[in-house]
Point group: C2
Chain length 572, copies 2
């Protein structure tokens, strides 16, 4: 379990501060994460990695010469927001374009893609290769749907070395994609980690058993078995990976980097005992191990688990892998030290408050009250949301929503007190939510609030139809952004009925409070359908079955919020 913190809500931020204090030779802090504290050559492609925090040395520990130029560091197990990623990317940019690479998770894809769009809009070239090395997380036919785990390291390293060697953005993209195609991982676990302040681990496996193919945040595994011997585990890992050799590779004589990664509390000595057998099995298969890695490269706090990665080299990949690198947590070979950067921290800009009229400022006060209602609702249900999410996901939905709603309220209040109209108050709230909550739901709430904000305007009082249209804009933003449809068991399952019922009711002449109440009921009913899946998923997982679909507690939290707002609208 995690044992040391001050306030769990401050953990990620204080962790980054301590990390930077200990590693000023390598990194400096910028809004959203860290970039190198050394100077990079003009025109060098900037490799930007990132993801949720809690996986050290991923991701900040991998910033330095020969590896990443910057890391967007999200909250614990939550994607950094698009704004954070954008901030890191702009600070890292050397004029040669930005290359994004990160483990493939829905929230990260959503936020990195949004940041990529923004960079391109600003005329900065940007390309992406997501890491999809975990062979247990989807079939080979759907390789693009796989998660990124410890194989992050090979893709990051190859991209970083290529940038350092002067490859242009297209060439970095090409070789990183090849590295991802040549990287396959498979993992097992005994227990999940316990997040700071959480009462229990994200998951447990029955005594004497081991989960197979588990994700690094406690995502469901594909099987469960009795705890094997060290040799037995080596045989399991190697046989699974040799069942899926990359296309065009001949096993006999292949040169392969084996990476035996510890997730946190499975320790070095045990891994060396396992590696002893792995080395023999690789030799038996005619494989030549190159530069074996046994250690902690991508952790999950104190999770007791390990994964084996095989990185199938070709001549170019091996040359890039062998290049010198010097970062806080990963060093190798002789790096010619670069000069220290004299850049000062890039501060987030505070935009001016647009003009507003009295009518809109009255609406803005109501928006402020609504934001307070959202905060109160989430605070009252935070534990319940966390529990729901620990069945389907990584258990952070409650604290993520709490972080986002509190940030939204604070930003909304600040704007309202500065005289902003309704649109500005709500847009600021939405941006703050996305920025502070991170993850998928943070980004989506940012989209929803910004959609509604556009309909409210900073002058006049919006009609019920305008509000309904704003909600529709937000919802269509969510579906196009998140690429989920009704029936996928996500937040969208509640959003779509809500907006459909709301629009119909308003069109048939209902008042906003009345229409909102009907729409909230529809959202609640839809969320209940989704939530009803959760106990079933929990059981399936306990029995070691593969995922039966992903039910997102986001539908439930959306229904809670719109229902609470219905009560407030009714009352006023």
């Amino acid at each position: 379990m995690t044992r040391l913190w001050n306030d769990p809500a401050d953990f990620a931020d204080e962790m980054i501060e301590g990390f930077v204090a200990a590693n000023e030779r390598y990194v400096r802090r910028v809004p959203g994460g860290v970039v190198r504290s050394t100077v990079s050559p003009d025109g060098q492609v900037a490799v930007v990695v990132g993801g949720g925090s809690g996986h050290y040395p991923a991701f900040g520990g991998l910033v330095g010469q020969g590896l990443a130029h910057g890391a967007a560091m999200g909250n614990l197990f939550a994607s950094p927001s698009a704004q954070q990623i954008l901030s890191v990317a702009k600070a890292a940019d050397n004029g040669g374009g930005v290359f994004f690479t990160y483990g493939s998770y829905a929230g990260d894809v959503l936020n990195f893609d949004a940041a990529q769009d923004r960079l391109r809009d600003e005329g900065i070239a940007c390309e992406t290769v997501t890491v999809t090395d975990d062979i247990s997380s989807a079939s080979l036919d759907e390789k693009h749907k796989r998660r990124g785990i410890a194989g992050d390291l090979t893709v990051f390293r190859v991209a970083g070395a290529a940038a350092e060697a002067g490859y242009d953005l297209d060439a970095v993209t090409r070789v990183a994609a090849l590295a991802n195609e040549r990287t396959r991982s498979f993992g097992v676990a005994f227990t999940g980690c316990t997040l700071p302040g959480a009462p229990e681990p994200l998951f447990t496996v029955p005594e004497g058993r081991i989960a197979i193919g588990l994700g690094i945040h406690g995502e469901p595994g594909i099987d469960e078995t009795d705890i094997p011997t060290a040799d037995g585990l080596a045989e399991l890992l190697v046989s699974r990976l040799l069942d899926e050799v990359p296309d065009g590779v001949s096993v006999a004589g292949a040169r392969v980097v084996p990476i035996l990664n510890g997730l946190g509390s499975l320790k070095y000595e045990e891994m060396f005992v396992v590696y002893r057998r792995i080395a023999r099995l690789l030799a038996d298969a005619g494989i030549v191990p190159v530069d074996p890695h046994v250690g902690e490269y991508c952790t999950s706090f104190d999770m007791a688990g390990t994964s084996l990665t095989l990185f199938w080299l070709d001549e170019e990949l091996e040359r890039l892998w062998d290049a010198p690198v010097d970062t806080p947590a990963y060093r190798r070979g002789s790096v010619v030290a670069a000069a220290r950067s004299t850049a000062v921290a890039v501060e987030a800009l505070t935009a001016e408050i647009p003009a507003s009229d009295e009518a809109s400022r009255t609406v803005a006060a109501a928006v402020r009250d609504a934001l307070q209602t959202v905060v109160d609702t989430i605070d009252a249900h935070v534990d319940e949301l966390g529990r729901m999410d620990s069945i389907a996901g990584d258990g952070d939905h409650g604290i993520g929503m709490q972080r986002g709603s509190h940030a939204a309220l604070a930003a909304g209040v600040a704007a309202q007190e500065a005289g902003a109209g309704a649109a500005t108050v709500l847009a600021r709230a939405g941006d703050a939510w996305a920025d502070k909550a991170g993850g998928t739901s943070g980004a989506l709430w940012g989209v929803i609030l910004n959609g509604v904000a556009g309909a409210l305007g900073d002058t006049g009082t919006p009609s019920a139809a305008e509000v309904a249209a704003g909600i529709e804009t937000g919802v269509s933003g969510v579906t196009s952004y998140g690429k989920a449809e009704v029936g996928d068991k996500t937040m969208v399952d509640a959003l779509v009925p809500f907006t459909t019922v709301l629009t119909e009711a308003v069109e048939s002449g209902a008042s906003l409070p009345h229409a909102w109440g009907k729409a909230a009921d529809a959202a609640t009913a839809a969320a209940a359908d989704t939530a009803a899946l959760l106990p079933k998923m929990g059981r399936a997982r306990a029995h070691g079955q593969h995922s039966v679909g992903t039910a997102d507690p986001g539908a439930h939290s959306f229904a809670l919020i719109v229902s609470a707002l219905a009560v407030v609208l009714e009352r006023n």
Copy 2:
């Protein structure tokens, strides 16, 4: 807990094999541990480190250019034997003398000192600096009695860099002693590790509490308190260390390397949160942090604990600390890669069997039976001995005695079947015991058996007086070697009454079986006195009191063995 192994008895050996397989660029295996696989310049001082296994990256992970030339790797938490250390030292020697440095523990001191004597006897210069950084383990007045914990790294690094820079043996010794004087550590823990195959952790601390000043093998702490916040822990660690600034150092303006070391399952993110506050406290005191280290440098399997080390630099120490280094687990700066060594593994020599006569071969058969009795006795009491040791020490006495006695029997049988006389059979058994058991008790049993062997000879039948004289020789070897006296609550408490009563009885004309029986009774009574202390120590420890003295289950196991032999002697 440790979760992966094949046979726990093979764990350390298989761990070393896996470690070497993963790190052939750095190390090659020799009997007793590892040495660099790269060539060192002729005449360079060879820095040899070592200790029990279970502390990775200490000690094998620290062998490579700029750091150690070799590491003697003992069994889990057990000192390597003198023979293992000697083997590593001779393989590491470059003709410039050998420098030993290791954390100060009784077993390690005993075995490294014996190896040092042997090296000097063979004309190889050898000097030693033991690391004594743990300020909680003895008062400043008795600094030489302190344990070595994570501060090992600073002393090893300075010695390794000095050797690499061409310092001669005296100069390496001087600067390493200075580094040790300038290195102070203080640690805390939440739980101890669980050794491979062990049913429970070495220690636990009550829910919500933290042990202060605990050793890395679970040695008793000096206090216990409620779990502090991360900031509170930082304040505790820094304040204790600033209470004991090395002589001649002015705090304001001092340049200090802070090392925040994780013991295994307290993870990086938590340590960064703690380090954030440490950095501020050091700055408040006017201290300039140089090259902060936050990570795992000396672990104890999955122990949940952390320690802070402050290394107070002077100009020479800082220059040596900054020197390039390249090892499996510790790398920094640009090392000019040395050529790979073409040396082949140094094999242990098998000596010829000396001539014997029929009478001595008859005694040798009785010695073989006696060794079998020892094995049977230890096997029957292995759990009991482990439990006793887990109160006073690190819980490995049972398995250590088992490993040693089995190795002694195997070596004795091999010699006896090859026609050896009594002295050779017993001496081979003693050497095997010391070599395979490691630790303090292994070394001492080697001394006892070799002492008796000298009295038996390989010809004729020894008299009772000769046997008694042999026992006396062995016992005086133990007391001079181990530096313990009667009353120190060690094995010596049983040894001395045993030999005194035996000699007196034989001198007054008793038969060997009769005299042995009386002596065994005296040893049993004395061991019972020592053992009676154990429950008291357990209670004291649970209440967080400082050590009330060290009761060694070695007295108990000695009494068990001589009592079992008394029965056999009586019967024949």
